[in-house]
Amino acid sequence: MSSISLAVETHDVRRIYKIRGGKRKGEAKTLIALDGVSMEVPRGELFGLLGPNGAGKTTLIKILATLLLPSSGTAKVDGLDVTTQTQEVRRRISMVSGGETSGFGLLTVEENLWMFARFYGLDNKTIKSRLAEMMQMVGIYDRRSTKISDLSTGLRQKMNFIRGFISDPRVVFLDEPTLGLDVTAARDVRDFVKDWMAQNPDRTLLLTTHYMAEADELCDRLAIIDKGKTLICDSPENLKRRLQSETLFNLKIQPLRKPTSPEDVIEAVPGVRSVTIADQIDFSELRLSLEGEDALPAVLAHLSGRGSGLLSLEKREPTLEDVFTQLVGRRLDEDTSQNSTGEGR
């Protein structure tokens, strides 16, 4: 794809942090946050970066948003090099992060937004008309004269969204934008994103999230990223289609006894491709991926042999969560620092 039609382009981007805490005093450890990420995002696409906490999503976004330099490799936004053409890039982008605290508590919503818009050089007339329109769009017009210290988390994030979009950016980076929001506020934010993309088909939006359903709902294409590497990049539909040869079940069972030997794990049962277990207070939830339905009786027999009875069983369609589990070998909400050694909890 030619460089002009690409909104974001990275080539073998690596980012290494030096952190304190080496074995000797004063010695620095290195921490590889990005380990050679290459990707291309065409203009007009809503592209998602999906991965667990610590996967490197935010690092990548920060590099693209000119807040961080890559240790090696190249990254371009709107055809401009983020390392050398910083100022030009900044005129074309914006970034909104979840849980953002920017702004001045004693200013009103309108005043804060006016101030941020002026940092982008917008004139008062443009700001005024666009502010009114956008505040109505996200539903905070009637709160425009409220000091932001008096806003709820959801309303504050809506204000942050307007801040991100008021400068009419060509490329917007959204870093976990619905983090900490309630269901309604998160839905409003997602609706806003969809509307904006529909109204501005030549603009591009890069979204990081660890909410699978959000990525599935919003993104045209997405990359799954883990431990600083891109594992796969495709549309949500294509990613899920990869799993159509598999049969997926959700099982609720009585709490499962620990396996007595490495051979005693569910993965050892013939026909089981992968399994994740989430322990609840008085039951365990199993997500099974099998080669076919005929593998199920053997699994149930195995569970029964380990003293666990079946509470409910449901066959289901593949989700992005399953794609992630298949690729990474563990669930998305597991800590990346934990090892996965079978019977993946």
Binding site: I93, L107, F116, R118, Y120, G121, L122, K147, P169
Partner: protein, 285 residues
């Protein structure tokens, strides 16, 4: 590879001087609104406290039987503390505060120049600063019957403005230094409070410290600024001055250029380090 021209940004936005201007006033706005409309309690705090401190030093001079002109020296010094405190607390340490509040990232991300943002903070804080300085000057002058004999008004204005330019240039440079030091900024601001009152001669003629100490202190623009203004305001006492007013004006001019250039260089450097090392800019706790 053929370089393909990228399209212009969608909305016409100001660049260059106009962007600088808009950014500066935008950042000044919270301070102006904050001080004039929303939280007016500062007026009390910002005037009563320094008035008390200035009066205290006047009484010390009276207790030891100092000549009359020393009262004027203290009053001028007391008024000028407002500018020094504005530099330290509302400018030099402000990038650190803004980092903590989550705003620095937005400043860096926006095309608005960091120098414009810092200047905006200073301009916004100027309302408070000038009020504070003026109140000390007027109230103490009246209360202690200070007599001013101005020898040259144009030179007095020139010295004052050169001092301010050099001082605020230094404040911008400090903002970068404070943030880059990785320490909590108020420790550095604290370090530069009383020790600078001493070294710059806020409450006595700086030449009392001896030539070399006074010369070293002259790196702080207020040292020569105050010395020059004292010579011009109390015309009969030019003998108490450190250097001649003309020489002081030239040095202040050099300092202005130097500090503004240094500030620009260091702020650029700061951003570069921030982006390279992945720290400085973002809030970590």
């Amino acid at each position: 590879m053929t370089q393909i021209k990228t399209p212009a940004p969608p909305t016409a936005k100001a660049t260059g001087a106009m962007l600088f201007w808009r950014t500066m006033w935008a950042r000044a706005y919270p301070r102006i609104v904050g001080s004039l409309v929303r939280e007016r309690s500062w007026l009390f705090f910002e005037t009563v406290l320094p008035l008390a401190a200035t009066a205290g030093y006047v009484f010390v001079y009276q207790a030891v039987g100092a000549p009359e002109e020393y009262v004027g020296f203290v009053v001028l010094g007391g008024a000028m503390t407002a500018f020094w405190l504005n530099i330290l607390w509302a400018m030099a340490s402000q990038l650190y505060w803004d980092k903590e509040g989550g705003n620095l990232e937005i400043y860096i991300l926006s095309p608005g120049p960091l120098m414009a943002i810092l200047l905006g903070m200073a301009v916004g804080g100027f309302v408070m600063t000038v009020t504070r300085a003026a109140i000390i000057l007027i109230v103490c002058s009246l209360a202690f019957s200070v007599t001013y004999t101005i020898s040259s008004v144009p030179l007095l204005i020139a010295i004052f403005f050169l001092t301010m330019i050099a001082l605020y240039g230094m404040g911008m440079m400090f903002a970068a230094v404070f943030l880059a030091s990785g320490r909590e900024a108020w420790h550095l601001a604290n370090l530069l409070q009383e020790p600078i009152y001493l070294a710059s001669g806020f409450y006595f003629p700086v030449r009392a410290l001896g030539f070399w100490v006074a010369a070293a202190s002259s790196l702080i623009p207020l040292t020569l600024g105050m010395d020059g203004m004292r010579q011009l305001l109390f015309a009969g006492d030019a003998t108490l001055g450190f250097l001649s007013v003309e020489v002081e004006a030239i040095i202040l001019l050099i300092l202005s250029v130097f500090f503004l250039a240094a500030a620009r260089f260091m702020l650029t450097k700061l951003e570069e380090i921030g982006r390279r090392e992945g720290r400085l800019i973002e809030r970590r706790r």
